[in-house]
């Protein structure tokens, strides 16, 4: 087909450069380029309001010269990639075993009530998305805990948690 390559339609110069630097670290064959998928998806997601559209996934596949399904596999495997639009902040309340034992269920209930949304939903003002249940976030010593964007908040109580959320822009 003659259509413009997706990679040049959906990825900025800057993003493509950033992907290049990852790509250069691996051998230039299918498997090698597959190693750059995770980083490329982060780069694409960041530049796209925190989520990955179908076009973005295809653009990454196109740019790394991989068949699209290789990228879909990675994007659906990791919960850090979001395949639907999200709010400005992603809040992930850990509910795995340690956090659960230390009261994450109550924490979730409280936060849901406070924000008026359930897990997997986004507040009407587009401020916060509550990320659905995930694996252990590897901060069990500080259970219960939550991940807000890139930051860990540990030893939470419902009050502490809502205060943190209220401070988000």
């Amino acid at each position: 087909m003659t259509s413009q390559r997706l990679a040049y339609t959906y990825l900025s110069d800057h993003q493509r450069e950033a992907i290049d630097s990852w790509r250069a670290r691996f051998p230039d064959h299918d498997q090698g380029r597959q190693s750059a998928v995770i980083q490329a998806l982060h780069i694409a997601q960041e530049g796209n309001g925190g989520w990955l559209s179908q076009q973005m996934l295809d653009a990454v596949a196109d740019y790394l010269e991989l068949t699209p399904v290789r990228v879909y596999e990675v994007a659906t495997f990791y919960s850090m990639f979001h395949l639907h639009p999200v709010g400005r902040h992603k809040v992930n309340i850990c509910q795995n075993i340690s956090c659960m034992l230390c009261g994450s269920d109550e924490l979730v209930r409280h936060i849901e009530q406070h924000l008026g949304i359930g897990l997997g939903e986004t507040t009407a003002d587009g401020r916060i998305t509550l990320v659905p249940e995930d694996e252990c976030l590897a901060a069990c010593t500080g259970a219960p805990m939550m991940l807000v964007d890139e930051h860990y908040y540990t030893d939470l109580t419902p009050e502490k948690a809502t205060a943190i959320l209220d401070s988000l822009e």
């Binding site: 003659t2 068949t67 699209p68 399904v69 879909y72 596999e73 659906t76 495997f77």
Partner: protein, 799 residues
């Protein structure tokens, strides 16, 4: 530390369940077990695919140097070692296998009574041996939404056990990577993620690979049970590979087609074309009884009456001028049919019999025989290949599979055609030229080659190069072919269809000769080589004696008074459908032998005799490597239809021709085999046989094309499921961006096209894969039947 001092270095000895086996170093336990008939349960492992060892069903107990491994190991990826002791049935191994089975069944619906796979399911079989009688799992099972993968493969993804055989097949064999393992852990699903479906020409093989009922055969669904069907070995009827297949039938009705293993031919795969075309056997337009024209009406007749009338008509024309009779016969007819038809025609005094329906140029008349020029299996070991006018992936899917293997192993697979094709691997070089320039491109490759091997100037080449110098690309192609240890130079379907095909074939032969390469020449049909052997060609008898008949192309250009047409639809199957039809319409007498009756036939024919379709006739196909493969018929043909060889035999008797007393096809086969064995190897054309004058080209906007993958013959065109895939349906005339711009055509525009006759209206595509000044428009698609030559001038009007 070899157990046996006489053991060769590359061999090791291992013990499995108490018995000693010798095997090559590097083999896995499961390979040794399989080779020696020891059963190890497995789901994900398949000998033709890489082993991910993800199902864990094959766990076995291992002991090395007297030390037991700490836990059971997967037999499918554990390499053997000298002195290794393997126990597949120890308590620990069996308990491991049972536990894996229990986990696999946790999320499986256990809906065997409504599952098509029931009775032939690897999960069912192994559950019988390793499963518990009662499930301990009382929690909720997961359910997976089904995805529509297209008209060929049905899904029931809740049954999937995530062995990933289907994913790996599409990755490693089909080369399309259309399926993936999406999501994670308990949420893992096999799918395309975007609902694109799977479109590989080999897609049906995932049905055979899937160990459970997740992927099943869509058209076959719910029509029979595995245990009520009889398996009937036969041979694929559409391409020159001759894939070994089995028809599964119930009381003579074919329910489905599956591959038979033959490492030398199709390995364990078959193309979708061979798997799904059987639906055409039961098409609505099957002719049930002989019919003859009576003024404007058609009259049913009994066979005796019909054959007598045919014999009478043929005799009448033959008595005046036998050269006024021409026979066109399908290149997918059996060897026996082709041979008897040849004898009928020659008995009547005419040499005008031909299977090369799609060969537009027969100036090189009496030399080239079709065929691959090498064993099919050996093509996966070539170091270089040049494919001229062949979209091998669609023309001969399993030959492409072999060449792909070679290509992935580093061989230089190269192509020259009028467009770039959608290959499932990367070619080393893909040359694209306008149809008028193909000969020049080949000549430049030949010139570069002659220089490279120090042959100097090749006589006659200048007429094609016009004195031009080879470019770097020509030199690269030439050098790679010469430097290769084993090489193949092959022409394909698009060369057959080319108006200057004789030049292209001669040049291809020259290149093969200069490179010391194998030389192949493949058109369409399952038995084109057979047609040549059977003498169903105008320039040679079955005994190899020369003859001077007229080809299909010649009897189209110089119409005859009487035609005999066997199992084809000229408007689709001849290189110039419009002209072929005109010739038939103008003839006094047209006798058609066909499983089907079409509106077109009713217009041009005088008598139409119903013959058996594929599966209903016993016979032989000779594949591209010259392998004779004989098969029996499954059941009686539909209605009053009869196998064509019987019809020809009776006709031979009615015409009082000598030696037409055959009782069975094997007698015909044996007679022909005797004739064939007495002949030396046929010459395969060559530069010497080139036409006196090069063909000059059309010099205008030219139609280019090949035969669409699901448009090759009447049977596949009636394969209802195949016709609903994106490879079939309405033709999309395709132009290069520059040509489209010149003509003011945009992608998606509706345009009118004509080749001098009636025009058709089709939706255009624009694609930079094409050479300029050409319109890509293959034959055998909806909308192309009324048009002229597949390679010839064409006019375009925007509408």
């Amino acid at each position: 530390m070899s157990a046996n001092p006489e053991q060769p270095d590359d061999q090791v000895t291992i013990t499995i369940d108490g018995a000693e086996y010798q095997a090559s170093k590097g083999a896995t336990i499961i390979e040794v077990a399989d080779a020696n008939g020891v059963d190890i349960p497995r789901f994900c492992y398949h000998p033709k695919l890489t082993a991910p060892a993800n199902c864990r069903m094959c766990l076995v107990d291992i002991e090395m140097n007297g030390k037991a491994a700490p836990k059971p190991m997967p037999a499918c990826i554990t390499a053997i070692g000298d002195g290794m002791v393997v126990r597949t049935e120890s308590e620990r191994a069996v308990s491991a296998q049972r536990n894996v089975m229990e986990f696999l069944l946790i999320n499986h619906p256990l809906d065997c009574p409504i599952c098509d796979q029931g009775g032939e399911c690897e999960l069912q079989d192994l559950a019988l041996g390793y499963g518990r009688g009662i499930s301990r799992f009382t929690e909720r099972k997961r359910v997976v939404d089904d995805e529509d993968l297209g008209p060929l493969v049905e899904t029931e993804m809740t049954r999937c056990i995530h062995c990933t055989r289907c994913v790996r097949f599409l990755d490693e064999i089909a080369g399309t990577s259309e399926l993936g393992a999406l999501h994670r852990g308990e949420h893992t699903e096999i799918g395309t993620f975007v609902g694109r479906g799977i479109h590989s020409e080999l897609s049906g093989n995932v049905i055979d690979l899937c160990p459970v009922g997740a992927l099943t055969n869509k058209p076959y669904r719910y029509t029979a049970r595995a245990w009520e069907m009889l398996s009937h070995p036969t041979v694929g009827p559409h391409d020159a590979i001759g894939s070994n297949i089995s028809l599964h039938q119930v009381r003579g009705t074919v329910k489905r087609v599956v591959p038979r293993n033959n490492e030398a031919v199709n390995e364990t795969w078959i193309a979708d074309r061979d798997r799904y075309s059987y639906q055409g056997i039961y098409a609505e337009d099957r002719l049930q009884e002989p019919i003859a024209r009576d003024g404007d009406k058609w009259q049913a007749m009994d066979w005796q009456e019909a054959l007598e009338s045919v014999a009478g008509r043929l005799k009448e024309v033959a008595a005046q001028d036998p050269s006024q009779i021409a026979a066109w016969v399908s290149p997918s007819a059996t060897l026996e049919e082709q041979y008897l038809l040849n004898r009928l025609m020659r008995g009547l005094g005419s040499d005008n019999v031909d299977v090369r329906l799609r060969q537009a140029d027969t100036r090189d008349g009496d030399s080239p025989s079709p065929g691959l020029g090498m064993p099919i299996a050996a093509t996966e070991d070539v170091d270089a290949a040049l494919l001229v006018g062949s979209h091998t992936r669609h023309d001969q899917p399993l030959l492409n599979h072999r060449l792909r293997k070679a290509g992935l192993n580093g061989a230089h697979i190269m192509a020259l055609d009028t467009r770039r094709h959608d290959w499932n691997y990367e070619l080393s070089e893909e040359l694209v030229a306008h149809p008028d320039q193909l000969a020049r491109e080949l000549a430049l490759i030949a010139a570069a080659m002659a220089a490279y091997v120090g042959r100097g100037v090749v006589e006659g080449l200048h007429a094609y190069t016009g004195g031009a110098e080879p470019g770097d690309n020509h030199k690269r192609v030439a050098q790679r072919l010469v430097d290769a240890g084993s090489a193949l130079v092959m022409s394909g379907d698009a060369v057959e269809l080319h108006q200057g095909g004789a030049d292209l074939r001669a040049l291809t032969a020259l290149i093969a000769e200069l490179a010391g390469a194998h030389h192949g020449q493949l058109g369409t049909g399952a038995n084109a080589f057979g047609g040549w052997i059977a003498g169903a060609v105008p320039y040679r008898g079955a005994d190899g004696s020369p003859a001077r008949g007229m080809s299909v192309a010649e009897t189209i250009a110089d119409p005859r008074r009487c035609y005999v047409v066997v199992n084809l639809e000229p408007e689709h199957d001849c290189f110039d459908g419009a002209a072929a039809r005109r010739a038939l319409e103008a003839a006094e007498t047209v006798v058609v032998f066909s499983p089907y009756v079409t509106e077109a036939m009713r217009e041009y024919a005088d008598v139409i005799l119903p013959i058996g379709a594929f599966g209903e006739t016993a016979g032989t196909f000779v594949n591209a490597e010259g392998r004779w493969q004989t098969f029996a018929g499954v059941g009686r043909p539909i209605g009053e239809a009869r196998p064509a060889w019987r019809v020809f035999r009776v006709l031979g008797n009615l015409l009082s021709l000598d030696r037409f007393e055959y009782n069975a096809p094997d007698e015909i086969h044996a007679e022909l085999q005797g004739l064939w064995e007495r002949q030396g190897n046929p010459s395969n054309g060559g530069w010497q046989g080139r036409p006196a004058e090069p063909w000059l080209g059309h010099g205008s906007l030219v139609r280019a094309g090949n035969t669409a993958i699901y448009g090759t013959d009447p049977l596949v065109r009636r394969g209802e499921a195949l016709q609903r895939t994106p490879h079939a349906g309405a033709a999309r005339p395709t132009l290069s961006p520059a040509t489209a711009q010149q003509l003011g055509v945009n992608d998606g525009d509706w345009i009118s096209l004509d080749q001098g006759g009636p025009s058709v209206r089709l939706q255009a595509s624009v694609d930079d894969a094409l050479a300029d000044s050409t319109v890509w428009l293959p034959a055998g698609l909806e909308g192309t039947a009324g048009l002229g030559p597949v390679h010839g001038p064409i006019n375009i009007q925007r509408t």
